[in-house]
């Protein structure tokens, strides 16, 4: 079973020491709580600051010393994310749409290819199965900057440079190892006896998988797909090297491009970062039960 956050904590380590130690324990507890609060504030402050900057009037964004409260509120930055200077669609909104298409299509492709493979790896005895699985996962560890050099040359030959299809393919390849590892864990949890029983009833192996195992896998597939979606959505290195035109560019290089000029509109950067991050946080919250497996590429499950 994957670990849920709510369960991912041991039972309370109660201080069973006799009452003479109670007072020391109390002081210690206060210190621990204070420490936790300080750490939580430090971890969350950048996120809050980003949120705050995105709703500040420009002159307050650049205020020295920084204004924490009493700033003038505006939603202009968010408007600028979606509406261009000429009143039409902004360049950023186009790249957000591209991100949706690229992340969505690559996730579908990775899922369609990865789930049957995961099922086969879970159910059948294959030659050097462990080696195959380890090989598959190790492709995911390749440094993107290194992989992108031959991919760039290859795409130049195939005419896939600066195309959404090119990005979709590379992201799918990037997500397939994860999908296989993650899904194998889920398939392992479904007893293969279900399929054996169905086959005794005259179904073929494939029908048995389709009719009996697959429906049980739907929650796992959904969780896996959400992680793949997040990985593709957040990806930056391939996007910046393999695409260049405004029509194809996804959101991460587009947002990074906002700081290219001599002056930087930090309010706009903050607003687009917020718009970009919100779907990820929502999705991550939905799959929080599977986070441990998800962030270790399906390798750690308990």
């Amino acid at each position: 079973m994957a670990i849920a956050i709510d369960e991912a904590v041991p039972g309370p380590v109660t201080d069973d020491a006799p009452s003479t130690r109670r007072r020391g324990g109390g002081a210690r507890r206060v210190i621990e709580v204070v420490l936790l609060v300080v750490l939580a504030v430090a971890m969350l402050f950048p996120v809050l600051w980003m949120l705050e900057t995105s709703i500040k009037e420009n002159r307050d964004v650049y205020a020295v010393p920084a204004k924490f409260f009493n700033f003038d509120f505006t939603l202009d930055h968010f408007k600028d994310v979606f509406v261009g200077a000429d009143g039409g669609r902004s360049d950023l909104s186009v790249s957000f749409l591209n991100s949706v298409i690229v992340a969505g299509a690559s996730t579908v492709l990775a899922t369609v290819l990865g789930v049957p493979a995961a099922w086969a790896y879970s159910r059948f005895t294959l030659k050097a199965k462990k080696d195959q699985l380890f090989f598959i996962l190790s492709t995911r560890f390749m440094p993107p900057v290194v992989v992108v050099i031959p991919i760039f040359l290859m795409y130049r030959e195939l005419g896939l440079i600066d195309s959404k299809l090119g990005l979709i393919l590379i992201y799918a390849a990037f997500n397939v190892p994860f999908t296989i590892w993650m899904m194998k864990g889920f398939v392992d949890e479904v007893p293969s006896e279900y399929e054996d029983a169905a086959m005794l009833d005259g179904y073929t192996r494939l029908q048995a998988f389709w009719k009996f195992t697959l429906p049980l896998l739907v929650p796992g597939i959904a969780a896996t797909a959400v992680f793949a979606l997040i990985f593709s959505w957040n990806e930056f290195v391939f996007a910046i090297f393999l695409t260049s035109s405004q029509e194809v560019r996804t959101a991460p290089p587009a947002i990074a491009g906002l700081i290219g000029g001599t002056t930087v509109d930090w309010g706009l950067v903050a607003a687009s970062a917020v718009v970009f991050a919100i779907p990820v946080l929502v999705f991550a919250f939905l799959v929080r039960k599977h986070l441990v497996a998800g962030v270790t590429l399906g390798a750690v499950r308990r």
């Binding site: 309370p12 936790l36 750490l39 560890f141």
Partner: protein, 281 residues
């Protein structure tokens, strides 16, 4: 196998074939911008890379970065996990809050810290100023730039270690603590002889995973410092990019990349073997 081959084909086409191509290019003087005249140069590219003092500097920078960042986030992440595990109430909510940085794109994280660390109107200097400290040029001074990079990476990835450590702490059976408290074992003894040995294997997995990721790091450097000032924050990844896409020495860059891949393969093998041992044991 009909079920496995489509996935394997995609991996062969998008991972294995490109790497083999890079391997081939690494033995040539090919340049992506020059149309003609590609010659075999044997191991020249490799000797160039391995003997280049520039590369040695980058390797050292990367080492400092990887060790510094992973060490910091391990200590912090484990501490937070330990503190959370001792709370009875609000653990779920606390954990969720702590996990936010990890889910953000490196682009968003990099941009935001760049803004916060800005020497002029950044909020960090502003806060330091109100405490009476002078301005610090976080990202534009040799001394502080690499440190800032480590801090930002630590901010983003401490939750990762925390999450895994927390999962490890769950696995410690309560009866061990009960037995220890019957024996009147001290708090430190319980931590040293029960908690740590039980959590250690899983923690090591997280540390190795983070080390591989930190070694590959590119996006944060690209956004925060672009390798500067000078070359003080140029990691190996960033240097490969410069050789390949700014210098267009594709052959040399390929050899460089292959060497990096070798390092990653060794690290990944260690990681996977250890993981395998853990699963069987």
């Amino acid at each position: 196998m009909a079920f496995i081959s489509p996935a394997l084909l995609l991996l062969l086409g998008m991972s294995v074939f490109p790497l083999l191509w890079a391997l081939y290019l690494s033995f040539t003087d090919y340049s992506a911008t020059r149309a003609t005249g590609t010659d075999f140069v044997g191991f020249d590219n490799y000797t160039t890379i391995l003997t280049s003092s520039e590369v040695h500097t980058r390797a050292l920078t990367t080492l400092v970065y990887v060790v510094g960042a992973v060490l910091l986030q391990t200590v912090l992440g484990f501490s937070i996990a330990y503190l959370i595990s001792r709370r009875t109430r609000g653990r779920g909510a606390l954990t969720t809050l702590f996990l936010v940085p990890m889910m953000l794109s490196p682009v968003v994280v990099g941009l935001f810290w760049k803004f916060m660390l800005d020497a002029q109107f950044g909020v960090i200097n502003s806060m330091l100023g109100s405490l009476g400290f002078g301005q610090v040029e976080w990202l534009t001074r040799q001394r502080t730039a690499l440190f800032s990079l480590i801090v930002v990476d630590t901010w983003q990835w401490t939750p990762f270690i925390m999450l895994i450590a927390l999962a490890g702490l769950t696995a410690v059976p309560a009866y061990l603590y009960e037995a220890a408290s019957i024996d009147r074992a001290s708090e430190w003894f319980r931590f040293r002889h029960i908690t740590l040995p039980m959590v250690w294997p899983l923690l090591l997995i997280a540390v190795m995973f983070r080390a591989i990721e930190a070694f590959r790091l590119f996006d944060l450097v690209y956004i925060l410092t672009s390798g500067g000032p000078g070359v003080s924050t140029e990691t190996l990844s960033f240097h490969v990019y410069k050789v390949a896409f700014l210098g267009f020495n594709t052959g040399t860059a390929s050899a460089y990349g292959i060497l990096m891949v070798l390092v990653v393969i060794v690290l990944a093998q260690l990681y996977l073997r250890y993981l395998n041992k853990l699963k069987e044991g």
